[in-house]
Symmetry: C2
Subunit: 338 residues, 2 copies
């Protein structure tokens, strides 16, 4: 087991390395942190830490840098979440309050996160599956062609074309619209299938085909999780990554363009609380030298989507976690209000 002081040494190494971006040696450590021991002692501790795999040296006769395992220990045991200051909180709130619609909320959130953390921000649009239906609208575009519009409580709107098997009269349409809304408005998506199950029975035989088609289109829309979208921003911050550019940055940019990868990444994170994944803990190869800090956010007590940042493993974890948490909280408030 690692002694208390060794943990302190590890913490100091992480902090210094995050600050300077350069391998940190024993002498510098004793100077910048008053550990109360000599460089020689620190060297012994470092050797032990290296044996355990928490730190490594890039070359012989260079300082040490933390390994993924080292960062993991740092995040889990050695560091807390650095709360935002009062002015910062206020700035966040002000900035988000200016949003006019859902797109704008998401866009502002991305910019805010990117600015606060100086890293790449990723914000998932509020997901359909966990939200509730505000309204379902049916429009007749042509005798046998309908448009289905679904409006959610988070302000999201989805539309689908429906080709009817048979012409569908205006009165039937009004009837269906009314019945549909009385059953599903205000309900959670997951409850909808059950609620509309027997709806076709209420209609004449000739309309039943159309009703069934409409319903199945509606259900498809509801479960269409792969339609989940996300917005990313702050990619320019990638240029602060390392000094050996093209190789470092390209795979990350490529991964960021693969929305599937990002969605999977966010999806894998625990549903509650903040999740930090470090370096090789991330399955995707291109992101092996990055860390991802993500958290769920939502309008109520429950998360409806996730947001987070992607940055170098060498990042300021406490600060980043603080910013992510704060932003998620305020976005949740904004969504609840609207």
């Amino acid at each position: 087991m690692l002694s208390e002081r060794r943990l302190q040494v590890l913490r100091a190494i992480v902090q210094d390395y995050v600050g300077t971006e350069e391998p940190v040696g024993s002498k510098a450590l004793t100077e910048r942190h008053n550990l109360g021991v000599s460089p020689a002692t620190v060297r012994n501790d470092m050797a032990a830490l290296e044996d355990e795999g928490y730190i490594a040296q890039p070359h012989t006769s260079a300082g040490r840098i933390p390994t993924d395992k080292g960062y993991r220990l740092f995040v889990d045991k050695l560091a807390g979440v650095k709360p935002m200051t009062g002015p910062e909180r206020r700035a966040i709130q002000n900035f988000l309050d200016g949003a006019v619609d859902l797109d704008d909320v998401v866009a502002r959130t991305v910019r805010l996160l990117a600015q606060l953390t100086r890293q790449v921000a990723v914000v998932q649009y509020p997901s359909l599956t966990r939200s509730t239906v505000r309204h379902v609208e049916l429009l007749s575009l042509a005798p046998a062609r309908l448009m289905l519009v679904l409006i959610t409580d988070t302000g999201r709107v989805e539309q689908r074309m429906v080709d009817c098997p048979a012409p569908f009269g205006e009165s039937s349409l009004a009837d269906l619209r009314a019945r549909l809304n009385s059953r599903v408005a205000g309900r959670r998506f997951s409850d909808v299938p059950r609620l509309v199950e027997d709806l076709p029975d209420a209609f004449e035989a000739e309309d039943r085909g159309t009703v069934t088609t409409v319903l199945s289109t509606l259900l498809e829309t509801l479960v269409e999780e792969n339609e989940e979208r996300l917005m990313i921003g702050g990619t320019a911050n990638l240029t602060r990554f390392g000094h050996d550019f093209p190789l470092t940055i390209r795979p990350v940019l490529e991964a960021l363009e693969e929305q599937v990868v990002l969605l999977k990444l966010l999806g894998e994170a625990g549903d509650s609380g903040m999740t930090v994944r470090i370096g090789h803990e991330i399955a995707h190869e291109g992101l092996n030298s990055t860390s991802v800090v993500s958290v769920g956010y939502g309008s109520g007590s429950e998360a409806v989507a996730k947001l987070g940042v992607v940055g170098p493993t060498r990042m300021d974890y406490p600060g980043t976690m603080g910013a992510v948490r704060a932003v998620a909280r305020y976005v949740g408030q904004i969504l609840a209000e609207s």
Copy 2:
């Protein structure tokens, strides 16, 4: 005036430089292009071209590279648009045909353009102002709260909340909905203001306030050009830019995140035909070492939005222009069908 051969020399320089990314010298030129003259002659021509500002040498005793002015001449006079091959066209069409909705069309277009040109692709969502109204829907969310949903012929949907000055009955709502649609459905956005001008007169005094509010919200939505969105992709291709990375790539990434900049850029381009802007012809500073090839696309004969690519000034102009034009054409077809 430049002689015919000097123009050929310029063309050869551009082609070689685009291919090799290295300054091109007189000897290499005569070897790769059979100009029928000796290196010494080419040297004289090069000196003349340099005097005129079409080419420059990075250092004494290096080959020449084209200047912005040189590229401009090349694009205007020396090169055509390289058409896509048959298989390429088919691949484009197949890929775009798979799209399920507007978002998907745009997303696919971006990916396609990025892949074809190996550069950064920018696609503007079909703009509101030039399209026509398919349907306007009004929903009552609360006694004095409406939701206005606008559906365009390009499949785009915009929604807005409307707070009414006074409660608005269901029958009035149905009335307004019907009147509104009979007037504006199928009309162009630009005609809408005129068409609904006298609509409030048809209502009772008590409802007039609400009707006016609804109308002004509708008009706001129509003119809200700043709401114009765009999608970008292929940023990973930036890593192929130059070898002196961070400095080259950062300002570009920053500019790409400023949607305002990009929208302005696309907006400035001529309405019809393809526009190529090269290097310093672009006002925005961060994009001074890039070129932008853009073109309008639309469902009919008229453009409803623009798309294009951003790449290094040293790009394959004929090929890029061919890809951009082809993609724009097919996207137009897809939009017209849906």
